[in-house]
């Protein structure tokens, strides 16, 4: 797909010299058409997003200040309790456990993933044979469903006949029960996430790298800068906007982890017998859809997660801006 097929510049807000639309033929209808059409065309998005996106999000905030029964609310009503749900969260061990799991698995999955993606993008940025083929192979995991990934990896990480333990046994490692503690849970689940998303991030970073003009590298190598130095002083700084995009998308998506831990634990919303890998979205789900009488509390979990995501995204923005100068 090429965007350079046409040389027409992007739309300007107010192009000079544009002729006034003719009013002879269409007359009144023509004017109405010009005025109303744009709004008609964009209306579907704003209506659907307003009703099913923005409104539920705000209503979640409203619910979080109530004792709220999701199913019986119309008949039983709800009770305003102010910040009580949030106060309860602060002393709720399960909530902190879910927060710890969410942040822990996010870091465990995302940091190696982005480093590997950076490395792979740097490789794919060279003139390779069979370039498209390699791009396809790294991206193909992204075409599978999370459910399928969780099923296949659940088996790969099986204790007695899983392929992972078999490979480890070749190096003399005893069979590991991947369901035994928090660390093993996290490792297995992070592996699934990385398998599915590394290729996607590689391609995004690669796109960013290809937008860097080649002649900058040319002049740097004339000045005697080696490949490593060029990567640090040209590629990384110029990749900053793309890197920011990739990290924000990873934060928003990664902190909402749900399906992988759910299916790794055979569909249990608790995330293991001792909640070893229960994430915040799972805890939200447990306290609302699985237990409709506690929906107000679940809504507070949702907004706590919302705040966590916002803080992480903004913090990441400042960090990336500062470190990569």
């Amino acid at each position: 797909m090429s965007l350079s097929a046409t040389t027409t510049p992007p739309a300007r807000l107010d192009p000079p010299g544009r002729p006034k639309p003719p009013r002879s033929r269409a007359g009144r209808f023509g004017r109405l058409d010009l005025k109303a059409s744009p709004y008609l065309y964009i209306a579907p998005f704003f209506i659907v997003f307003g009703v099913f996106g923005a409104y539920p999000l705000l209503r979640t905030l409203w619910m979080s200040f109530h004792k709220w029964d999701l199913v019986n609310e119309p008949t039983l009503g709800s009770t305003w309790i102010g910040l009580d749900n949030y106060k309860a969260l602060l002393s709720d061990d399960y909530f902190w456990n879910a927060t710890y799991n969410t942040v822990g698995m996010f870091l465990m999955a995302t940091v190696p993933q982005l480093l590997l993606a950076l490395f792979l993008a740097n490789i794919l940025n060279r003139p390779l044979q069979a370039k498209t083929f390699f791009r396809l192979t790294v991206l193909v995991p992204n075409a599978t469903s999370v459910a399928a990934v969780a099923i296949v990896f659940g088996t790969l990480f099986q204790r007695d006949f899983g392929v992972v333990n078999w490979v480890l046994s070749l190096f003399g490692v005893d069979a590991i029960d991947w369901h035994i503690n928090q660390l093993t849970h996290w490792t297995a689940i992070s592996t699934m996430v990385d398998w599915r998303w590394t290729g996607y991030n590689t391609l995004i970073l690669l796109a960013g790298m290809q937008a860097i003009p080649r002649d900058i590298y040319e002049s740097a190598s004339i000045d005697g800068a080696n490949a490593w130095k060029q990567f640090w002083s040209i590629t990384l700084p110029m990749l900053r906007p793309t890197f920011l995009f990739v990290t924000v998308v990873s934060i928003v998506g990664g902190l909402q982890l749900f399906t992988e831990p759910l299916l790794f634990n055979n569909g249990s919303i608790l995330g293991g017998s001792r909640r070893e890998s229960q994430t915040l979205v799972m805890y939200m789900y447990e306290n609302s859809i699985e237990n409709t009488a506690k929906a107000g509390y679940g809504a507070a979990v949702a907004w706590a997660l919302f705040l966590l995501i916002m803080v992480a995204a903004v913090g990441n923005f400042l960090l990336v801006r500062k470190t990569v100068k």
């Binding site: 797909m1 965007l3 046409t6 027409t8 107010d14 002729p19 003719p22 269409a26 209808f29 058409d33 010009l34 059409s37 744009p38 065309y41 579907p44 998005f45 099913f52 996106g53 539920p56 209503r59 979640t60 792979l120 490789i123 794919l124 060279r126 003139p127 044979q129 390699f134 192979t137 991206l139 193909v140 075409a143 599978t144 469903s145 999370v146 399928a148 296949v152 088996t155 006949f161 392929v163 398998w195 391609l203 995004i204 796109a207 960013g208 937008a211 040319e218 190598s221 004339i222 080696n226 299916l263 055979n266 979205v281 789900y285 609302s288 859809i289 679940g298 949702a302 907004w303 919302f306």
Partner: protein, 280 residues
């Protein structure tokens, strides 16, 4: 190119080894799925693990169909319906809105476009609690409406089509059509749509894949009696069945259509993802 930079850009054998290793790791889980799905049940216990496919696939898949509580066929039909309807709607509404944002002048355009950009960053999944309540109130629980209607439009789609239409549709053509007395809708149909077809195709592929794979929301609003394919898979794999060959046969059938689409249209999908990243 100077000799030193030529050396810098050349790919060494080591490069190929590294990329081939990553490629193998990417493909192996698919291959493993295929192997287990085509072998008899006892193969999964083998040490070393089985590496070659067998011939028991139809046997295994037959057992999927024999389990009435899995509702695999219902799931398959539902997934096709949901993914197709949503894809059609997202492509149509995104193309219309993208055209309006790129080529039409109206009050509040820039502010509204900015709103769309912001909504792309909002984790709307966090609104599922009241959304779920809404489905109960509307009596949409256990109905496909619940997994279709909230997804009929997409902020990402609008933005993507807006970016593409900005450069792919010529202002002169639109002006000429206006002088000829075309209505805006005819301009959209005759001028804009043909020009943005490549991007619309990529958007259709990405939307279809996303809908086909969706899990959290369908699981919340559909019952195991009337599932989508992924919900049905989640149910099969929830530990109730220990027949791995059967579970993997179901997983393979649910995954293969997507992998085929991916291989056939891979070049376009890659192009779409990479263009999107640069534009955003």
């Amino acid at each position: 190119m100077s000799s030193s930079s030529a050396r810098l850009w050349r790919a060494s054998p080591l490069t190929y080894i590294a990329i081939a290793a990553v490629g193998l790791l990417s493909v192996y889980p698919f291959y493993y799925m295929f192997v287990i799905a085509t072998r008899s049940l006892d193969a999964i216990n083998d040490t070393p693990p089985p590496f070659t496919p067998g011939s028991a696939f139809f046997d295994n898949f037959g057992r999927v169909l024999d389990k009435p509580d899995v509702n695999f066929v219902t799931g398959l039909v539902n997934s096709v319906i949901v993914s197709s309807v949503v894809t059609l709607s997202v492509v149509l509404t995104s193309t219309l809105a993208g055209f309006a944002f790129a080529k039409l002048r109206f009050k509040g355009r820039d502010a509204l476009l900015f709103t769309i950009l912001v909504t792309m960053m909002i984790p709307t999944q966090l609104g599922i609690i009241p959304l779920w309540g809404m489905m109960i109130d509307l009596d949409w629980y256990d109905s496909l409406l619940a997994v279709i209607v909230p997804f009929l439009t997409s902020a990402f789609g609008v933005f993507m089509m807006r970016q593409y239409a900005s450069s792919a549709v010529s202002d002169e053509l639109i002006e000429a059509a206006r002088v000829d007395g075309c209505s805006t809708l005819r301009i959209f149909w005759n001028v804009v749509l043909p020009a943005v077809r490549p991007a619309a195709g990529v958007l259709a592929l990405l939307t279809f894949m996303e809908q086909w794979n969706s899990f959290l929301w369908p699981r919340a609003v559909l019952t195991p009696e009337n599932p989508t394919l992924q919900v049905s898979l989640g149910f099969i794999s929830s530990g109730y069945y220990t027949d791995y060959s059967m579970v993997f046969a179901a997983t393979a059938v649910a995954t293969l259509p997507l992998v085929v689409v991916f291989i056939v249209f891979g070049r376009q999908i890659i192009g779409g993802i990479m263009e999107g990243a640069i534009k955003a």
